[in-house]
């Protein structure tokens, strides 16, 4: 290195500096949030319901936001997964006509690039339309467009691209001889898909679902626009089950937003506690993605594939 020019040494030092500082920033965030978690996160917060209160001691926990996050995740994935898998299967296995597959693929790319706030305002207005009003809660007989069902439906849009891309890349990675062997045994295309292809891309679908879940639990804009400002889960209507889906509520992200100085409630301790819990979920999902995609990661080594970035 002593023969290097100064400009080379400078770039070398800058690259090391950038890399190390990125590590330091990540470590600082984790340590700081861990410290706040030890300070404020208590088990009783997770199991008690939130209450309207002026000071932080009486405002309860975040059981309802936690359940809200889970409900949104389940609805979002339940809608997105079949759609994404069907799209991927059609594009990779059938792919006729060719121009139409291009159109479908680029429309999914558009969704991937669409800001979540735009999806939120779109969803709010769409579910105020008359023929979709059954899904949302109402005030004075008018559909507001806000409910778990409508927010979950929009969540499925942000979970769709990573799921689609993971499944498509998995299908493209299946060696051609597996299909040929199935055809040689007299299986139809759809039978090949069901018996051979879907089982072999199981880990890719799992990666996609995990990426979708981490998108959904991290999303704030859709929740604060489309779920109302209710502290607790407030059922709407008389049918059990459906009333919760049609009701308003909150999620962990909207709970953090509302309790931070940016929202109305000035309860930074509660916001920190919920943020630590959310960060823990994100970490666990990250580890899960790494586990599911171990095989494919060793093959390609691509970071973007694991992050679900288009």
């Amino acid at each position: 290195m002593h023969t290097w020019r100064w400009s080379d040494r400078f770039v070398w030092a800058a690259a090391w500096g950038a890399g190390i500082s990125l590590c330091v920033i990540a470590a600082a965030i984790l340590l700081y949030m861990g410290y706040r978690g030890i300070q404020y996160l208590r088990p009783e917060l997770i199991f008690s319901r939130p209450q309207a209160s002026i000071d932080q001691a009486g405002s309860g926990g975040f059981l309802d936001p936690l359940l809200g996050t889970m409900l949104l995740t389940v609805i979002g994935i339940a809608i997105a997964a079949p759609l994404a898998i069907c799209c991927a299967l059609w594009i990779v296995e059938y792919g006729r006509p060719r121009w139409l597959t291009r159109v479908v693929e680029s429309s999914i790319e558009i969704v991937a690039g669409t800001p979540d706030i735009l999806i939120a305002v779109f969803g709010l207005a769409v579910f105020q339309l008359h023929f979709l009003a059954f899904a949302s809660s109402t005030t004075n007989g008018l559909a507001t467009g806000t409910s778990f069902l409508t927010a979950g439906a929009m969540m499925s849009l942000i979970a769709l691209p990573p799921l689609f891309i993971a499944t498509r890349d998995g299908l493209l990675g299946v060696p051609a001889h597996m299909r040929e062997a199935a055809f040689a045994l007299g299986k139809t295309r759809i039978a090949t898909i069901r018996r051979v292809l879907l089982p072999s891309v199981r880990s890719n679908v799992a990666t996609g679902v995990t990426l979708g879940v981490s998108r959904i639990i991290a999303d704030t804009a859709i929740v604060i626009v489309m779920l109302g400002d209710a502290l607790r889960i407030t059922p709407e209507g008389g049918v059990p089950g459906l009333n919760v889906l049609r009701g308003a509520g909150s999620s962990l992200t909207s709970y953090i937003y509302d309790n931070s100085p940016a929202g109305e409630g000035l309860a930074p301790q509660k916001a920190y506690a919920a943020a630590v819990l959310l960060l823990l979920f994100v970490l666990v999902l990250n580890l899960a993605v790494e586990r599911f995609s171990r095989g494919s990661l060793a093959r390609t080594g691509a970071i973007t594939a694991v992050e679900g970035i288009v």
Partner: protein, 328 residues
């Protein structure tokens, strides 16, 4: 009929069904674009393209829209949105300019310089930073960075120099740009890393055989080979930065103020709004007063339009990359 029930999935029917589902997804997306455009139409109808231009106080214009009577008069639609467009452009370009060298250096470090163990840690770090929710960035910003900036970095002379126009609390351009940089650089790092990894090893060996040192080889051969990937990563990161709403609405001060570079250092601390954060701040007005509603949808449409333009640009930039068989 019976055979249909016994064996419901013939090949032909499966193809039709899967195709129909795919078309449904595609139509949903097209419907979304059309729907937002229709909702945004009234404000563009009243203002024309001068909607994008400067003029008047946005604060007054928004208040007029909020308080407009049920039969909205045409005058209530009057809007010149330049301050928030300027805010969006300013914050996005600053964040991308900061993130670009950081991302390129980090990617070089991860792929070319770091020891194997550190490389694995770095990849985990990048993945972690990419998946931190924006509300957590916002929370850290508003509870940690904003008080720090407000108490230690803003001098009292800067405060008094802006008295009457804007309050300097620490919420503003600087904090938002720093957080946005941290949010978008992991995406860029990941994309550039993948491209660097795809550069054929023989190219590096060729450079080494010519007696060039490692860093020269990186600069002259590897970086040059991944230039299209760097541009594509920048474009994608720009799209992310444009659409970021929650974090910016939390830390940018939520004020219709356009930061003025002529204010010197105070420029960095001035509050602002972007297109996306305006929608978050006025979300209560969605579905309410028609003029405000239409304006918010116009903001959304403008965002969608720029994101689409950017993704087309990214596609065009990626084309020459495919020719050289390098992935990105």
């Amino acid at each position: 009929m019976l055979s249909r029930l016994l064996n419901p999935w013939t090949d032909h029917r499966a193809e039709r069904t899967l195709g129909a589902v795919s078309l449904l997804v595609c139509l949903c997306v097209l419907f979304m674009i059309a729907f937002v455009a229709v909702r945004a139409w009234p404000t563009f109808e009243h203002n024309g393209l001068s909607w994008l231009g400067p003029g008047g106080s946005l604060k007054v214009q928004f208040e007029t829209m909020l308080n407009a009577p049920t039969h909205t008069p045409a005058s209530a639609y009057h809007l010149r949105a330049w301050p928030i467009i300027y805010g969006t452009l300013l914050i996005t370009s600053l964040a991308v300019l900061l993130a670009l060298p950081l991302a390129v250096l980090c990617a070089i470090f991860i792929v070319e310089l770091a020891p194997v163990r550190l490389r694995r840690t770095m990849i985990r770090v990048v993945r972690l930073l990419a998946s931190v929710p924006s509300v957590i960035w916002g929370l850290l910003g508003i509870l940690v960075l904003v008080p720090f900036v407000g108490n230690h970095l803003i001098t009292s002379s800067e405060r008094t120099s802006l008295e009457g126009t804007a309050q300097l609390t620490g919420e503003g351009l600087a904090v938002a740009v720093v957080l946005l940089t941290l949010m978008i650089s992991p995406i860029m790092i990941a994309l550039i890393c993948d491209a660097l990894g795809a550069v054929p090893g023989a190219w590096r060996e060729g450079a080494a055989a010519l007696g060039v040192n490692r860093l020269r080889a990186i600069r002259a051969v590897t970086l040059r080979a991944v230039r299209p990937a760097i541009v594509a990563a920048t474009v994608l990161a720009t799209a992310r930065a444009l659409g970021e709403a929650i974090m910016i609405s939390m830390v940018s001060g939520s004020n219709f103020f356009a930061p003025r570079p002529s204010d010197g250092v105070a420029f960095l601390f001035e509050p602002m709004r972007t297109l996306a954060s305006t929608i978050v701040d006025f979300r209560e007005g969605l579905g309410g007063a028609p003029a405000l509603n239409s304006t918010l949808y116009a903001c959304a449409l403008l965002l969608l339009f720029s994101v689409c333009v950017l993704s087309v640009a990214a596609y065009l930039v990626k084309l020459p990359l495919r020719k050289y068989q390098a992935r990105g």
